[in-house]
């Protein structure tokens, strides 16, 4: 049975960029222009989970993203690796949302897409890290959700999900349709040259707030349920005592002595 899947992806500043480049200016995160945006790391795992199911039992993968001013090459990676469609909720009105307004807009778009067995998400976005949107979508659509997922297998209208728990994992069976939020573990495949060329030709479907029938007061900044009062970076003292020696082994021995002196060990 072919499986219809929607994968929610977010364009974010590269979370793997060195910590020193993340600078807060006037309550906003500001990164130098050479830090390119990427699809969030957990959403990449979600894409892979969906593509694996498509490889195995067939189906359709629709990538869905919300934001404004998407970098086409970045977000089209979803198509290049094998998604069949790309739907963008792209408008200034979608900016500055929180988990509440984002989940509501995505859920409205998912309703408009109409057919779905699994909605894949990342466990949390790679910028605001809240971990709420997938669960919010499930609650709005009235369907179950499994978070912290790795491998997913679909049989007989149900999904078997490997879920990471403290000190182990469990296999959870969930009825479909369902939301499945992926944690790290699966690595997204590389795009093939053929995939990249096909993605270059394919145009994403772009929806505005009116296309998903949501009142503007419910979208983006206007639809927030929480207020960001302040964004800041705690000052780090950075007083590391470097222990040296003529050889690495001597430095190590000196470290041992120093730790003893400081009564740490």
């Amino acid at each position: 049975m072919p499986v219809n899947m929607i994968v929610c992806c977010k364009q974010v500043p590269d979370p793997e960029a060195p910590p020193a480049v993340f600078k807060v200016v006037d309550n906003r995160m500001t990164l130098p222009p050479d830090v390119k945006p990427v699809i969030g790391q957990y959403e990449e795992f979600a894409l892979e989970a969906a593509l694996k199911i498509k490889d195995k039992v067939g189906g359709k993968v629709t990538a869905l993203s919300l934001g404004n001013n998407f970098v086409r090459d970045v977000i089209k990676k979803a198509l290049a690796v094998g998604a069949d469609e790309l739907v963008l909720l792209e408008d200034k009105a979608f900016e500055e949302g929180d988990s509440w307004s984002t989940a509501n807009a995505l859920a409205a778009a998912i309703r408009k897409i109409g057919t779905y067995d699994i909605i894949f998400c990342g466990r949390q976005s790679s910028d605001w890290d809240t971990g709420q949107v997938g669960l919010g979508i499930a609650e709005i659509l009235g369907i179950p959700a499994v978070t912290l997922a790795r491998e997913v297998e679909v049989t007989d209208g149900k999904a078997k999900v490997q879920q990471v728990i403290p000190d182990g994992c469990q296999v959870v069976e969930v009825t479909l349709p369902a939301v499945i939020a992926e944690t790290s573990g699966l690595t997204l495949r590389y795009a093939t040259l053929k995939g990249i060329m096909a993605a270059a030709k394919k145009q994403p479907v772009v929806w505005k707030p009116t296309d998903i029938g949501l009142d503007p007061s419910k979208i983006g900044a206007a639809g927030r349920h929480s207020k960001l009062d302040k964004l800041f970076q705690p000052v780090k003292e950075g007083k590391c005592e470097m222990v040296v020696g003529d050889t690495p082994a001597e430095a190590a021995a000196n470290l041992a002595k120093r730790l003893r002196e400081a009564k740490l060990l």
Binding site: F22, Q132, A145, V146, T147, S184, T187, K230, E241, A262
Partner: protein, 333 residues
């Protein structure tokens, strides 16, 4: 319009006892309750709650709602949501606190969406705005590269709190409180998930969360072997445990249970050795509560040296065995 009053902690049990995160939530909840001059209540839901309700009182709760049902033996969203939804409706609390745990990170967003309010997840700090009686919530964002302060006017005020971010009260068995057996009719037909199998990856020896010393390795370890030899030798000598940053866990070099970081375990040992770990904020978010951090890295510019108190620049292959030998000698002497 209902009046919102009181602090409600959704507690958890671990091996039949009150989980340590719940004692931390009660410690935080007690402080908020005293500031607001309201009651601190705790919900404990499981198949059998037993003595944990007395523990919750000893750690600061005024009232403990005990919800026992076979369907609550393991955490499953659809059964626990029925309890959470009913308790939130019946008690109408001003504040709901949960832990940033398997349960809390799953249950809190669902409950917030169902109640039409807002939840701030993974909080490190909570204050009360005395005028408006709203929570001022601080949490890490951008993979730990910044922190943000959030407020919401919506009720109830909901947060999840990171493990080890708050201090529990001293256990005091003379504290007075009331355990209230509470019946919630759980509709088992509404449970859409089923746990088919649970596999525990028990690490040998001391548990990571309880270890006074942690020896952690990163991507630079290059494979699974050194975790079981070089790092384990140092950890064993110091009666500590071996940990890892995310790449070794993602690559399967170590079980996921050893992963320390924003999306892994949060630890706060006395001594934390960060070996061949670059020090991405993702990782330091999980170990920055350590009393003393010691970094060993071949790159003198590695970010981990900004977090560390002591550092050695060098390859782990050269430094760690020599360190272990010298410490052995000093300990013996």
């Amino acid at each position: 319009m209902a009046e919102y009053k009181g602090i409600l902690v959704f507690g958890e049990l671990a091996d039949g006892k009150l989980a340590s995160i719940t004692t931390e939530l009660l410690g935080c909840g007690r402080r908020l309750a005293d500031e607001l001059k309201e009651d601190l209540c705790c919900v404990l839901a499981c198949d059998t709650v037993g003595g944990a309700s007395k523990e919750a009182v000893a750690f600061g709760a005024n009232k403990v709602y005990v919800v026992e049902d076979p369907a609550l033996k393991e955490y499953q969203a659809d059964s626990y949501m029925q309890v959470a939804g009913k308790m939130a409706k019946d008690l109408s609390p001003r504040v709901i606190l949960m832990g940033q745990t398997l349960m809390g990170r799953d249950l809190a967003p669902r409950l917030a969406f169902r109640l039409g309010t807002s939840v701030t997840t993974d909080c490190l700090d909570l204050k009360v705005d005395p005028g408006k009686k709203l929570l001022v919530r601080t949490r890490p964002v951008y993979g730990g590269n910044a922190q943000a302060v959030f407020t919401s006017e919506l009720m109830p005020q909901m947060v999840t709190i990171r493990t080890k971010a708050m201090s529990p009260l001293e256990r005091d068995d003379s504290r007075k409180g009331e355990a209230i057996p509470t019946k919630v009719a759980i509709d088992t037909a509404g449970i859409r998930t089923k746990i088919l199998e649970t596999v525990k990856e028990e690490a040998e020896g001391i548990k990571l969360e309880d270890a006074p010393v942690i020896v952690s390795g990163g991507r630079g370890m290059g494979g699974p072997q050194p975790f079981q030899t070089t790092l384990k030798a140092l950890a064993d000598l110091l009666h500590g445990a071996v940990g890892a940053s995310r790449p070794p866990a993602d690559n399967g070099w170590v079980p996921e249970g050893l992963h320390i970081g924003l999306t892994g375990k949060i630890v706060a040992p006395d001594i934390y050795f960060a070996i061949a770990i670059s020090g991405a904020s993702q990782h330091t978010a999980g170990c920055s509560g350590s009393k003393h951090i010691i970094a060993i890295n071949k790159d003198p510019e590695a970010n981990i040296f900004r977090e560390a108190e002591f550092g050695v620049v060098g390859k782990w292959e050269d430094v760690v065995p020599a360190l272990t030998n010298k410490l052995k000698e000093l300990v013996a002497g």
